[in-house]
């Protein structure tokens, strides 16, 4: 593919309430590029505009200004949606249909038919572990089962680009792992996945890049690695008679702080200094039992970025 999976230019959306008296800026001048074959995680607090963004791209809502292309085509082009899969956040299926009929309905709407469709339905029900429930009306499905069915629905037409709005919402831990595996498998077949989520630890595990959205503005975008860069900070577990010395004499040159339970925090400026400290510890006969480099989790970064942006907005 020589075009981007998603490309937006100054995409903005203002919702106006009845009579246009109250305006909500759901999305402001969003510029974002998602490369094909990647998993992109879109993060942000409740009401940040994540769902609005996806709805704009799919023509469910219309932009107030700006524009976007998906799979190289303008978003006003409805036919390209045959290459797209979507799992909405509060999806509702006709309660009177059975699991397999729901897939049949949406499959036909995506332009599939006949034996191909039936095969695909069986295959996907198997993938999301709903084969047993195939002949049960969806009104009897549990929340997690609905979510699994929703995922199957989103994958029916072998989409190139898949939008998932909180796909693991209401799914048990095993199911979540299974969904993660499904997403990674899709990526390995060079599908592009756009994932809206609050579950940062999950996003961290599978995404290539993430964007952080707050109040309709994109405040950070990059790879998970870039965002959660390692710091020159280590957690050490020490043992030996001399350890008490360090405790009694915190004013040492060792940059160590006791954080309890025999653990110490060590801040250095580079590896040279790190090695110097380690040499000193060893020379005092201190035993180093464990050493872990500290890094910010995506959650730490997320919280500090959102706080920063809130402060910025207050000024």
């Amino acid at each position: 593919m020589n075009f981007n999976a998603i490309e937006t230019s100054s995409l903005s959306k203002v919702y106006s309430s009845a009579f246009g008296r109250r305006k909500i800026e759901a999305l402001t001048n969003l510029n974002l590029i998602v490369k094909p074959g990647t998993i992109f995680g879109f993060l942000g607090p409740n009401g940040a505009g994540k769902t609005t963004f996806v709805k704009l791209l799919l023509g469910i809502t219309f932009p107030t200004s700006g524009g976007a292309k998906i799979l190289g085509e303008d978003i006003s082009e409805y036919k390209m949606k045959s290459k797209i899969g979507y799992l909405p956040e509060n999806h509702k299926y006709p309660a009177y249909l059975k699991g397999s009929e729901v897939l049949d309905f949406y499959g036909k709407l995506s332009g599939m038919e006949g034996i191909n469709l039936q095969k695909k339905i069986d295959e996907l029900l198997d993938l999301v572990k709903l084969t047993q429930w195939k002949k049960t009306k969806v009104k009897a499905y549990s929340k997690g089962m609905m979510q699994r069915l929703g995922l199957a629905q989103a994958l029916l037409n072998e989409p190139e680009l898949i939008f998932l709005d909180e796909p693991t919402d209401g799914v048990d831990p095993i199911g979540r792992k299974e969904i993660r595996d499904i997403l990674l498998e899709l990526k390995s077949r060079s599908k592009t996945i756009f994932l809206n989520s609050h579950l940062l630890s999950e996003v961290e595990q599978i995404t290539d890049r993430v964007g952080i959205l707050n109040k309709g503005k994109l405040i950070r975008e990059g790879t998970v690695k870039e965002l959660t860069q390692k710091r020159e900070e280590y957690k050490l577990s020490l043992e030996g008679a001399a350890v008490d010395d360090i405790n009694k004499n915190p004013d040492n040159d060792l940059h160590l702080t006791n954080i309890g339970d025999g653990y110490f925090n060590l801040k250095v400026s580079d590896s040279n200094e790190l090695n110097k400290v380690l040499d000193m510890l060893r020379s005092k006969g201190i035993m180093i039992k464990e050493m872990v480099q500290q890094k910010d989790s995506l959650e730490d970064i997320f919280i500090s970025l959102i706080n920063e942006s809130e402060k910025g907005a207050m000024k």
């Binding site: 919702y15 709805k55 799919l58 023509g59 469910i60 809502t61 219309f62 409805y78 036919k79 390209m80 949606k81 045959s82 797209i84 979507y86 909405p88 956040e89 509060n90 999806h91 509702k92 299926y93 006709p94 309660a95 009177y96 249909l97 309905f105 949406y106 036909k108 709407l109 995506s110 332009g111 038919e113 629905q153 939008f163």
Partner: protein
């Protein structure tokens, strides 16, 4: 096109699931049984078998119409009631999002849903009319096929009212306004305008008032004429004697649906 038919087909499924067919069917069946019982009273047969052939057909059809008119009236009222929530349900959060994410245009979606509603009513009305017709025909061994054409005028009448329900359903996302306006037009506005134009018209002196009455008359759909004269003419085999109510009402239907499509195309969900 195929997508549109999928929507139409699944509207039938929806109606079936919401017991529209079964309730309609039971009412139709009861009606047909009632008709059969009444016809079994010997007196009627004697009235019909005397008199000339022409008189006979007319009297026979009048008899059929006497039964069918109140029933179809109820049929239309029931149809409006049972189809009014089709559009609001489609527009519910989580449902419309998914539909719009499929490769189907908004106009196809709306027209497909509209046709679904009309098809549901067509099937129900057809079952009812064919049932009554069979009962009569078997009883009297008279096969008045013209009577079957009333299926179309009645469905057409409904399809006009349904376009109003669709328009207001799209605009308000709820079923009550459309239902109320449809009932209002069907039960009050159309019959009143018909009387104003054709019965009171001769007494109106002022050409301004006359003009206004005419304008309003032509503007609104002529459901009472369609259900009355047009249906009766077809049933008695006189054919369509006046195309005006059909054409102007059809114009109304297209206009209403067109506005619904325009609103739907611009709406955020």
């Amino acid at each position: 096109m195929k997508n549109m038919l999928t929507i139409t087909w699944y509207s039938l499924r929806e109606a079936m699931a919401r017991k529209v067919f079964i309730s309609f069917f039971i009412i139709s069946l009861l009606t047909i049984i009632l008709v059969a019982l009444i016809l079994n009273m010997a007196g009627f047969v004697k009235v019909f078998t005397s008199g000339t052939q022409n008189n006979f057909t007319e009297a026979f059809t009048t008899m059929e119409m006497m039964f069918i008119s109140p029933i179809t009236l109820i049929g239309i009222l029931m149809s409006i009631f049972s189809s009014a929530s089709f559009i609001p349900i489609m527009l519910e959060k989580g449902n419309i999002d998914l539909l719009l994410s499929k490769p189907i245009s908004r106009e196809q979606l709306l027209v497909g849903k509209y046709l679904g509603g009309v098809l549901v009513v067509f099937i129900n009305i057809a079952l009812l009319i064919i049932g009554v017709w069979l009962t009569f025909s078997i009883k009297f061994s008279v096969w008045n096929f013209g009577f079957l054409l009333t299926i179309f005028t009645i469905t057409f009448t409904f399809s006009i009212l349904y376009s109003i329900i669709v328009l207001l359903g799209i605009a308000t996302k709820s079923s009550a306004p459309g239902m109320m306006i449809a009932y209002l037009i069907f039960l009050i506005v159309s019959p009143v305008l018909y009387s104003a134009k054709y019965k009171l018209g001769v007494f109106i002196q002022s050409s301004l008032i006359k003009g206004i009455v005419d304008f309003v008359y032509y503007l609104f759909p002529k459901t009472s004429e369609l259900m009355g004269k047009t249906t009766y003419d077809l049933a008695t085999g006189s054919g369509i004697t006046n195309y005006q109510p059909i054409l102007t009402s059809f114009g109304f239907l297209i206009l209403t649906l067109g506005i619904a499509v325009v609103i739907f195309r611009k709406k955020d969900f």
